[in-house]
């Protein structure tokens, strides 16, 4: 019981502590805090540095994959070679193989060089014509077959040079190596210098790196990402339409409707565990169930999508549940309190408020699925595919295809350095898509974000 009168009015002056001179304890404490801050900054600096080094090496090695040494020279499409009968009958013309077109290209190049007076002393003609990529005749053939009126005319052809000459232009191949390399000669490099000076050989942006299918070891210069991109696109589309409804429905049920009992607890524990299962395990599951049991074709985007759906669902369910849980209970109370049913509460109020979180979670789930390689190797998407899958309406989801990360893997495992360069180039494309998806996640989040 305290009473006002009992407080001493003239108490002796208490010993006061100075607030300007710190004690040893305080100094130690402050030093510890400074140290802790320094650790944090150091961790962030290391992380950023690693990221910068990674991006730097990828762009240093990969940017050149988008450019390709290309020779431009006039070629006369010789009727006696490509259309002996002179009837312009497509079926007849199709009988002429790329060997014939290679002769057309070679004579065109030789004639052009003779006309310009470009030559290297003592260089056989075969070495000159070998500088044209083995892919070039096939492209010329496609072009002529598509437009038979070109026969007999002189047209300008952009033909890729070989991977080695291209490598010389990019500084990857030098004369010392060329002496020991059976695929390229010093003469060819000398001629390449002259062609560059004459403006015949140029490094051009290579659209076919993005559109063309993969190519064999003999012509790395022709290899492209076309099929991998289509396969990835098909898969991501399917994964999105599989995971979003399934994931959101499962999350809503578990969060809002499911009774709390041992069974739902079990489901919950399993979902968390599934998110941590190594992806290769899902690949084996896909192989066993979708291919061996259900009999779906291997290498198909549909199978890839199913496997990745299984893998991504737990992540999406966890993200969706946490954003549903983040909706304040007071909003649910408000809706229920004026007579909304459980479902109306969820669909009118909870879902719209959780939408930004759900969308972000889904997109980030898809982004991690985009880079998934392991399970796709097991279901055969690592195959060498040169035919584009058909459009989705024609069953394209069941046609063989590869995927971007798998293409990175298969190029990186080939011996020719030109493929290594393309592997880095493919990583740049992959990173570009990841960037787009992350930006989309941020924009959607901004668009739907509401405060409460």
């Amino acid at each position: 019981m305290t009473d006002i009168s009992s407080i001493p009015t003239a108490a002796p002056r208490a010993v006061t502590t100075s607030i300007t001179s710190g004690s040893a304890l305080m100094k130690r404490r402050n030093a510890a805090e400074t140290r802790f801050k320094a650790y944090g900054i150091a961790a962030i600096v290391i992380a950023l540095l690693t990221l910068a080094i990674m991006l730097f090496t990828i762009f240093r090695d990969g940017t050149s994959a988008f450019f390709q040494g290309t020779m431009s020279f006039p070629v006369t499409i010789d009727e006696t070679i490509v259309d002996k009968n002179g009837k312009r009958d497509p079926a007849d013309m199709a009988k002429v193989t790329t060997v014939g077109y290679a002769r057309v290209l070679s004579s065109g190049l030789v004639a052009h060089l003779a006309e310009k007076g470009i030559a290297v002393e003592g260089m056989p003609e075969k070495e000159v014509t070998d500088m044209i990529s083995k892919d070039a005749p096939a492209r010329l053939r496609d072009r002529v077959l598509a437009d038979p009126s070109l026969v007999g005319q002189t047209i300008t052809v952009d033909a890729f040079t070989t991977g080695r000459v291209d490598g010389y232009m990019k500084g990857r191949v030098n004369r010392e190596q060329a002496e020991r390399d059976s695929n390229v000669s010093v003469n060819q490099l000398d001629l390449a210098d002259k062609l560059i000076d004459a403006g015949i050989l140029q490094s051009k942006f290579n659209w076919s790196f993005i559109t063309a299918p993969d190519a064999s070891d003999l012509r790395p210069e022709a290899a492209g990402l076309g099929i991998a991109l289509m396969g990835t696109l098909y898969m991501m589309f399917l994964v999105l339409i599989f995971t979003l409804p399934l994931g959101v429905a499962a999350s809503i049920y578990l969060e809002e409707f499911a009774p709390k009992n041992w069974f739902t607890d079990l489901v919950e524990v399993n979902i968390s565990n599934l998110a941590a299962v190594p992806s290769i395990v899902f690949g084996i599951l896909g192989l066993a169930i979708f291919i061996n049991f259900a009999g779906l074709p291997s290498s198909a985007p549909l199978v890839g999508a199913l496997v990745i759906t299984l893998m991504t669902l737990p992540t999406i369910i966890i993200a969706t549940r946490s954003s549903i849980r983040a909706v304040p209970p007071s909003i649910r109370d408000a809706a229920l309190g004026i007579g909304a049913s459980k479902m109306q509460t969820v669909f009118h109020h909870v879902l719209p408020l959780a939408a930004p979180g759900i969308l972000t979670g889904t997109i980030l789930g898809l982004a991690s699925a985009l880079g998934e390689t392991g399970p796709l190797l097991l279901i055969g998407m690592v195959a060498f595919v040169t035919n584009y899958p058909a459009s989705p309406l024609d069953g394209g989801f069941l046609d063989p295809a590869t995927a971007l990360p798998v293409q990175v893997y298969s190029w990186a495992s080939r011996s020719d350095p030109a493929f290594i360069e393309r592997s880095s180039g493919a990583i740049i494309v992959l990173l570009f898509f990841l960037l787009i998806m992350n930006v989309a996640a941020i924009l959607l989040r901004r668009r739907f974000e509401r405060r409460w």
Partner: protein, 273 residues
């Protein structure tokens, strides 16, 4: 520690006659027990709530006031482990009858919560939501009824020009009155207030209290409050609950001046709780 054994109040002893006419009983609770899992949160409550009056529920935190309130419109249904036994009759119909649709019940028994909880939508959408749920989509009718509800909650003049602005842009007191309008829009017969002013400043509180006094003309009001002065100011009857039991219920003037139980007196005079 205080001796709380003397709480065997029967329903009949809680009856209060006002004047000569027997007042109309709106809500009648008989032997209400509420369990959260194994814990008994309410241990047998019998009470009569009179129509068009304000009944305040007071008592220390955790005594079951809010739980009891949420039994009346069955908001406790949303808690999976919650179990209610006994009877709560509104106009002689049991709220826990299996034939009762909670959605219909909650139109008749509106609720206002402790923290203002408008939807993150416009004022108009907030107030019209309950009407839309009941299938009213006619624009003129909605506009009329929203205006009526907003006037009923004494906030029409403040928001009539910003009906399409977000309700979250309003002040706390305004938000709470929008929430009251939202509950009033469906023309409920009973309104439950669960500590409606605990998050508000004194001026906003005064407005809400004034509003509650006005509402008494039309609806039956039950209010849970921690503020003893508030109970004294706005209510006709006061019920004191302690540890899940209804200790005493009587006319507010009697409870605050001459309570029958010592526990009530101790609580009101601030000796514990």
């Amino acid at each position: 520690m205080h001796n709380m054994t003397d709480t065997s109040s029967s329903a009949s002893s809680n009856r209060i006659a006002i004047g000569n006419t027997e007042p109309e009983v709106k809500v009648k609770a008989r032997g209400v027990h509420v369990f959260y899992g194994a814990t008994e949160a309410i241990k047998g409550v019998d009470i009569d709530i009179y129509a068009r009056s304000v009944t305040a529920f007071i008592g220390p935190s955790g005594c079951g006031k809010s739980t009891f309130l949420r039994c009346i419109n069955r908001m406790n249904d949303t808690i999976p482990v919650c179990r209610v036994t006994g009877e709560i009759l509104i106009d002689d119909e049991n709220v826990y009858d299996p034939r009762v649709d909670p959605v219909v019940l909650r139109a008749k028994v509106g609720m206002v919560f402790q923290k203002p909880n408008p939807f993150p939508k416009s004022v108009f959408e907030n107030v019209s939501y309950g009407l839309r749920l009941r299938g009213i989509n006619n624009k003129t009718e909605l506009a009329e009824r929203v205006e009526k509800a907003l006037r009923g909650a004494a906030i029409w003049d403040e928001v009539k020009d910003r009906l399409n602005d977000s309700a979250l842009a309003l002040s706390g007191g305004q938000m709470q009155r929008v929430c009251i309008s939202r509950a009033l829009a469906t023309e409920p017969e009973i309104l439950l207030f669960d500590e409606p002013t605990s998050a508000l400043d004194p001026i906003a509180t005064a407005k809400i209290e004034e509003l509650i006094t006005e509402l008494r003309q039309r609806v039956t009001v039950l209010i849970v409050t921690h503020n003893m002065q508030q109970a004294a100011r706005v209510s006709d009857f006061t019920a004191f609950m302690y540890l899940g039991e209804l200790v005493e219920v009587d006319a507010t003037s009697k409870i605050f001046t001459n309570p029958a139980k010592k526990a009530t007196e101790d609580y009101i005079t601030g000796r514990y709780g």
